[in-house]
């Protein structure tokens, strides 16, 4: 694949790590990677292992599966168990636990729950099954929300009446604000989310340096992207600058994708409040269908319980999502909570910090050697 091999060059990684180590000196830096995709890359390639101890990475809330609260999963299951419904979902959401099991459990009990790759697949199932009601469980940040929006426009154009969307789309800026307002976390800067930014651009992050005095560098997903973005953050700090920079300019434009933003605004509007797992209620942080699309809104068609369910006591996903604790510091990590039997959402998705650490943490040393350098060597 183009521009993948090049961004994994061990020699370049070594040079970047040397410069990072030089710039950090003896000071301690704590940077948050907002995006779950970054968390995945960091663990998969053992990046934490090659960085100097002075540079600490904190995992943020940018995993769309991880931030869905239990109450919404219960709502999804209630819809899925309605007679005549075909409930469609991205694979990641199937194993997210609600207060009484997950969607796979509902499927085992007889509900027609199907995995789809794209919302367009769900729409196609609806056109092929005109006597059934097809519901799409829409999750994701601005990266996936435009796809749901285009699918709804298509449903309207084709006049498909048996297709409905259960929208759980969320937006990226409010949780970053919530983290910055959080009293128990001291951060020196952010690795900005790469793929969300292909849609929203870099401008919405300007408040981070301007209001909170923290630098932010939008980063790509290859190991060298992450290392270079860390270097750019350190350079800003050492040169006394504080701004939004774009390391991922091969994909992200400052203005984002204007067409996608236009379609988002046409189909969705902001909810006054939405509950985030671990972060609580955040105002204007999620998207619901505009009244013009009420015909396709699953929340209006089905009477969902809509009950707020507290997370299980043992689960510390909230603290992991805010970067207050590391995955392995959670009391149930790797014992009661594993990818096979997750208690918390962070253990479900491959973008979740706990699953990424569980799956790749043990390979750290080997990966570090591949990258060219390890503290252990």
């Amino acid at each position: 694949m183009r521009y993948v091999e090049e961004y994994r060059d061990p020699a370049a990684a070594r040079r970047l790590v040397t410069r990072i180590t030089d710039l950090a000196g003896n000071d301690h830096f704590k940077f948050m990677e907002v995006c779950g995709g970054h968390t995945h890359t960091i663990y998969r390639h053992g990046i934490e292992h090659v960085l100097p101890e002075e540079v600490e990475l904190v995992h943020g809330p940018g995993c769309p599966v991880c931030v869905i609260p239990m109450g919404r999963v219960d709502d999804a299951i209630a819809i899925a168990e309605t007679p005549d419904v075909i409930f469609t979902s991205f694979g990641d959401m199937m194993r997210v636990p609600g207060s009484n099991g997950n969607l796979l459990g509902a499927k085992a009990r007889g509900a027609d729950v199907r995995f789809v790759y794209s919302p367009l697949d769900a729409l196609q199932i609806a056109t092929e099954n005109p006597s059934r009601n097809v519901v799409f469980f829409a999750v994701g940040f601005e990266t996936t929300a435009p796809s749901t929006a285009v699918t709804l426009l298509q449903a309207r154009e084709m006049n498909v009446s048996n297709f409905h969307v259960f929208s759980n789309h969320v937006t990226i800026v409010p949780p970053i604000k919530a983290i910055l307002e959080s009293p128990d976390l001291r951060l020196d800067g952010f690795l900005g989310p790469g793929h969300v930014s292909t849609v929203v651009g870099n401008r919405p992050y300007r408040f981070v340096p301007e209001k909170y005095g923290k630098p932010l560098v939008t980063a790509g997903f290859e190991p060298l992207d992450i290392l270079q973005a860390i270097l750019m953050l350190l350079l800003q700090i050492r040169q006394g600058r504080c701004e939004v920079e774009n390391q991922y300019s091969r994909v992200v434009r400052d203005e984002g994708n204007p067409r996608a933003l236009e379609i988002l605004a046409e189909v969705f509007e902001l909810r006054p409040h939405f509950e985030w797992r671990g972060l609580g209620f955040i105002s204007q942080s999620a998207l619901r269908l505009r009244p013009e699309f009420a015909r396709w809104d699953a929340e209006l068609k089905y009477a969902v319980p809509g009950v707020r369910v507290a997370d299980p006591k043992a689960c510390q996903c909230g603290e992991v999502l805010k970067g207050v604790i590391k995955p392995w510091e959670c009391k149930v990590f790797g014992t009661a909570c594993t990818p096979e039997t997750p208690i918390g959402t962070c253990m479900v998705s491959s973008e979740g910090a706990c699953a990424a650490y569980y799956n790749f943490g043990r390979l750290h040393r080997e990966a570090a050697v591949t990258l060219g350098r390890s503290r252990a060597v």
């Binding site: 919302p119 999750v139 940040f141 435009p146 270079q228 434009r253």
Partner: protein, 96 residues
Amino acid sequence: MCLGIPGQIVEMHPQYEHLAKVDVSGVGRMINIGLLEDEHLVPGDWVLIHVGFAMSKIDEHEAELALASLQMMGEMFTDEVDALMSSPSTTTVPRV
């Protein structure tokens, strides 16, 4: 689901302008390119694909620049280190 996959446009759909066939790791797939209509995509272009939609065009020029700057930074840096190492005045304890 947020992890995009790069794909290369092979051909535009003859009938629907919002569809194109892309090559993803040697496999042909039809994807929706409607969100990139302002980019005027042509076969050979690389795009980043999320859940069946091309969300952004991968800018080859920017990609080359980024790689070149990484490369250059490396050379400049290693040259600097080499120069320092070969400098006689820094190799030994100063002879007082």
